[in-house]
Amino acid sequence: MHLAYPVVLAALLFSVGVYGVLARRNAVLVLMSVELMLNAVNLNLVAFDTWLRDSLHAGQALTLFTITVAAAEIGLGLAIVLLLFRARGTADIDRATALGDPAEPFAEEAPAGAEALKGQAAA
C-alpha cells in the first residue's frame, strides 16, 4: 500500500481534531477532538514504522505508549469537565473565562494616585 493513503488520512484526522479543539464549545467534544489529533499521530507512527521496516518497531511501541497516556489524559480531562459542570452547571468552554484579565477603567484611579503624590511632596 502506498504511504500516501495513511498519511493523508492522518492529516485529515488531525485537521478535524484541530477544528474541533478550536471551534467546538462543549468541553467533552473538545476532549474528543484532542483524541482525534492524538490518533492521527498514532496512525502516522504506525504507517511510517511499516514503511521504514524498522526491525525494532519503535513506532508501534510509541503508539502503544501514546494510547496509554491518552487514556490517562482523557480520564483526567473528563474528571475536570465533570467538576466544571458541577460547579457552573455548564460545560461550555466559552464561558469558563475566570482566568481572564478584563481591561478595567484605569482613568479613575490615576488622578487619585497623583493627588496622593502631591500630598506627600507638599508634606
Binding site: 478550536l22 468552554i93 466559552d94 473565562t97 484579565d101 478584563p102 481591561a103 490615576a110 503624590l117 511632596a121
Partner: protein, 677 residues
C-alpha cells in the same frame, strides 16, 4: 612649659559638653556641675598658662595632623601675650555665664543641651585662640558658628528665634566662604598653614597677593565680627537667651574676627588698600550702629548695636595698624559688654519685657534689681568711656592709634613700617571714632535714663497698658517665664560683680609700659593728651545732650503740654486703651527725622531682602516649578505610558482557552512557513 596644660584648656570644655549632653537628661542633678566645673577649670588653667608663659614670650608647638599633598595641616599651638590675655577673658566670661545660666534658665527643660552648647562654644573659642594653624583655627571658627546658630535658636518655638538663627548662620557663612579661600590663598602663598610660618613669609614679603588675601579674610571677619555689610545678623541674634548674647554675641565669638586680624596683622600691613577698606568698613559700622542704637526700643537690641559699634572701634584700631589697642579694647569691651548683657538679663526677668519704653512705665524697677542697676551703670560708664573705667583707657588707645596713623606715624610696634598704614585710614577712623564717642554717650545715657529713671508719670497708664512694647519697633523677645519677684538670685548677682571688677579696673593695666603692653607688643597704650581731651569731652557732651533732651521731653509730659508731632509719643494702636502711651524718649529729639530709619537699621535689612532674599526665593520657586511641573511630568508620563501598554496587552487576556490556542496555532504555522521558506 608642660604642653598638657594648654592642650587641656580647649579639651576640658569639649569633654564637659559631651558629658552634659550624654548625662543631662538622665541625671538632671549632674547637668549644672558638668556645665560649670570644666569651664571653670579651663579658665583657671588658662590663667595658669598665661602666668607660666609670662610676658614677651611665645610658645610654638605643632604635630603634623595630616599630609595634604600641599602645605601640611598641623595640630599646632601658638601662645603669646595676645592669646593668653584673650583666653583668660574667654574663661572668665564663660564661667560667669555658666554660673549665671544655672539661675537664668532654671526652669528651662532644655537646660542640659543649652549648657552643653555653651561649653562646646567655649572649647571652640579656646581652640581659635590657641591654635597655631589656620585650618585648625577654621575648625574652631566654624564650631563657634554652629553653636551660635543653635543657641540663637534655643527658643525654637518662636518664629523670631528660628528666623534669627537661620539669618545668623547664613550671613556668617556668606563671609566664611571668601574667608576659606583667603586661608587657602594665604597657605598657598606662604607654603604653610602654620601661623608663625605665614607671619615669617609676610615679613619677608613672600606673599604674592597680599591685597586679595586681606580682602578675602576681611569678608569672613566682617561676617563673624558683624561689620558693616554683614552686620545685620547680630541685632536679630538677640532672640537667643540673654547669657548667650553676653558670651557669644558680645564678649567672645564676635571678637574672634578682630583677634584673627590682630594675629595676622603683618599680612594686612602689606596692603594699604585693605587697611583703607577696613577703616571705611569700621567707620560706617560705628556711626551707623551708634545711630541705630540711639533709636532702638528693645534693650538687647540697643546693646547689640552697641556691640557692633564697639567691634567697629576694634576694627578701626586694626586699620590704624595698632593691634595692641584693638586687643586692649577687645578685652575691656568683652568684660563690660558681658556685664551689660548679664545685667540686662536680670532687668528683663524683673520687668518681663525687653522694651525700654515699657520698662520706663514700671514704677520702682531700679529698687527691685539694685545690683543690676548699679552694675549696669558701671558698665555703661565704661562703654561711654569716662576716665577711671576700663572703657576710657581702651577707647583712648584706639583714638591715639588713629591719631598717630593720621599723622603718618602709625603705632605698628615693629610689625611693619609706619608708612604701611595710609594716612587716609587714620583720618577716617579718627573722625568716625570721635563722632561715635559722642553718639555712644548719648545712647548709653538714653538707655539708662529711660529704663531706670523715668518719673512714674503713667502709673495708671502702665497698669492699663501692661508691658506693651512700642508697636513699630523691631523687637526680638525671648520666652520669659521667670518669676519677677526672684529676679536677682545669688547665682545671677555674683557674676555681675565679678565682671564689674575688670570693668572698673582693667584700664589701669594699660598705663605702665611694663604691665599690659609688655604682654602684648610692647608699645604704649597710654592715652595721648589731645585725644583724651577730645574723646572725654565728646562723651560728656553726648551725655549732657541726651540728659537735656530727656529732661525737656519729660518736662513736656509732666506739664501736660501738647506733645509736638513725632516727639515722644507712640502712634495709637488699634484697640489700645484710651490713655495715651507716652514715653519721654530723648532719642526722638536728638535724631529728629533720622529716628524712623535708624530704628529699622536704616533699611539695610529691607535692602537685603529686596536684593538677595527675594531673588533667591524666586529662584527657589522656579526650581520648584521645574521640578514639580517639568521633571515630574516626565516621571508621571513614563508611568502612564507603561499603564497604557499594559492595557493593550490585557486586551489579549480574554480567559478563553480556545482563543489562546488559535493564536498558538497561528504562531506555529507562521514559524513553520518561515522555516520552510
Amino acid at each position: 612649659m608642660n604642653l598638657a596644660l594648654p592642650v587641656l584648656v580647649p579639651v576640658l570644655p569639649a569633654l564637659g559638653a559631651a558629658a552634659t549632653l550624654a548625662l543631662g537628661k538622665k541625671a538632671p542633678g549632674l547637668a549644672r556641675p558638668l556645665a560649670i566645673v570644666p569651664v571653670a577649670v579651663s579658665a583657671a588653667l588658662a590663667l595658669v598658662v598665661a602666668l607660666q608663659l609670662g610676658t614677651g614670650q611665645a610658645l610654638d608647638a605643632a604635630t603634623r595632623l595630616t599630609p595634604t599633598g600641599g602645605p601640611d595641616i598641623a595640630l599646632g599651638l601658638h601662645l603669646d601675650g595676645f592669646s593668653s590675655l584673650i583666653s583668660v577673658l574667654v574663661g572668665l566670661v564663660a564661667t560667669c555665664v555658666q554660673v549665671y545660666s544655672t539661675a537664668y534658665l532654671k526652669e528651662d527643660p532644655r537646660y542640659p543641651s543649652y549648657a552643653a552648647l555653651v561649653s562646646l562654644f567655649t572649647a571652640a573659642m579656646f581652640l581659635v585662640v590657641y591654635s597655631g594653624d589656620l585650618i585648625v583655627l577654621l575648625v574652631g571658627w566654624e564650631v563657634m558658628g554652629i553653636c551660635s546658630y543653635f543657641l540663637i535658636g534655643h527658643h525654637w518655638e518662636t518664629e523670631d528665634a528660628r528666623s534669627a538663627s537661620l539669618k545668623a548662620f547664613l550671613v556668617t557663612k556668606l563671609g566664611d566662604v571668601p574667608f576659606l579661600f583667603g586661608i587657602f590663598l594665604l597657605g598657598a602663598d606662604a607654603g604653610s598653614f602654620r601661623i608663625p610660618d605665614v607671619l615669617a613669609a609676610a615679613g619677608d614679603g613672600r606673599l604674592g597677593h597680599p591685597t586679595l588675601i586681606a580682602l578675602l579674610l576681611l569678608a569672613g571677619v566682617a561676617g563673624k565680627s558683624a561689620q558693616f555689610p554683614l552686620h545685620t545678623w547680630l541685632p536679630d541674634a538677640m532672640a537667643g537667651p540673654t547669657p548667650v548674647s553676653a558670651l557669644i554675641h558680645a564678649a567672645t565669638m564676635v571678637a574672634a574676627g578682630i583677634y584673627l586680624v590682630a594675629r595676622l596683622l603683618p599680612v594686612f600691613l602689606l596692603s594699604g588698600a585693605a587697611l583703607v577698606v577696613l577703616a571705611v568698613m569700621a567707620a560706617v559700622t560705628m556711626i551707623g550702629s551708634a545711630l541705630c542704637a540711639l533709636a532702638q526700643d528693645d534693650l538687647k537690641r540697643v546693646l547689640a548695636y552697641s556691640t557692633v559699634g564697639q567691634l567697629g572701634y576694634m576694627a578701626g584700631a586694626l586699620a590704624a595698624g595698632d593691634r595692641e589697642a584693638a586687643v586692649f579694647h577687645l578685652v575691656s569691651h568683652g568684660a563690660f559688654k558681658a556685664l551689660l548683657f548679664l545685667a540686662a538679663g536680670v532687668v528683663i526677668h524683673a520687668a518681663h519685657t525687653n522694651s525700654i519704653s515699657a520698662m520706663s512705665r514700671i514704677p520702682g524697677l531700679r529698687k527691685r534689681v539694685p545690683d543690676a542697676y548699679w552694675t549696669m551703670g558701671i558698665a555703661l560708664v565704661a562703654l561711654v568711656g569716662l576716665p577711671p573705667f576700663s572703657g576710657f583707657f581702651s577707647k583712648e588707645a584706639v583714638l591715639t592709634a588713629a591719631e598717630h596713623a593720621a599723622n603718618g606715624e602709625a603705632l605698628t610696634n615693629g610689625l611693619g613700617p609706619a608708612s604701611a598704614v595710609p594716612e587716609a585710614a587714620g583720618w577716617i577712623v579718627l573722625i568716625s571714632a570721635a563722632l561715635t564717642a559722642l553718639l555712644t554717650a548719648a545712647y548709653a545715657t538714653r538707655l539708662y535714663l529711660l529704663a531706670f529713671h523715668s518719673p512714674a508719670t503713667g502709673a495708671a497708664a502702665a497698669a492699663a497698658s501692661g508691658a506693651e512694647h512700642e508697636a513699630d519697633a523691631p523687637y526680638s523677645p525671648e520666652l520669659d517665664e521667670a518669676d519677677p519677684a526672684t529676679a536677682e538670685p545669688a547665682a545671677m548677682r555674683w557674676p555681675l560683680w565679678v565682671l564689674a571688677i575688670p570693668t572698673m579696673g582693667f584700664g589701669i593695666a594699660g598705663l605702665r609700659s611694663d604691665w599690659l603692653p609688655a604682654l602684648l607688643d610692647g608699645g604704649s597704650l597710654r592715652p595721648s593728651a589731645v585725644t583724651a581731651v577730645i574723646g572725654t569731652g565728646l562723651a560728656v557732651v553726648g551725655v549732657l545732650a541726651a540728659y537735656g533732651a530727656w529732661r525737656s521731653a519729660t518736662a513736656r509730659l509732666t506739664t501736660g503740654r501738647p506733645v509736638p508731632a513725632g516727639t515722644g509719643r507712640v502712634p495709637e494702636q488699634a484697640g489700645a486703651p484710651a490713655a495715651e502711651v507716652i514715653v519721654a524718649d530723648p532719642g526722638r529729639t536728638l535724631l529728629g527725622p533720622l529716628f524712623g530709619p535708624a530704628r529699622h537699621g536704616f533699611g539695610v535689612d529691607r535692602l537685603y531682602h529686596a536684593l538677595f532674599v527675594r531673588p533667591v526665593a524666586a529662584a527657589a520657586r522656579l526650581v520648584r516649578f521645574l521640578d514639580r511641573e517639568v521633571v515630574e511630568t516626565y516621571v508621571r508620563g513614563s508611568g502612564a505610558g507603561a499603564n497604557l501598554l499594559g492595557r493593550a496587552v490585557r486586551l489579549a487576556q480574554t480567559g478563553n482557552a480556545q482563543t489562546y490556542l488559535s493564536a498558538l496555532l497561528a504562531g506555529v504555522v507562521l514559524l513553520a512557513v518561515l522555516v520552510a521558506v
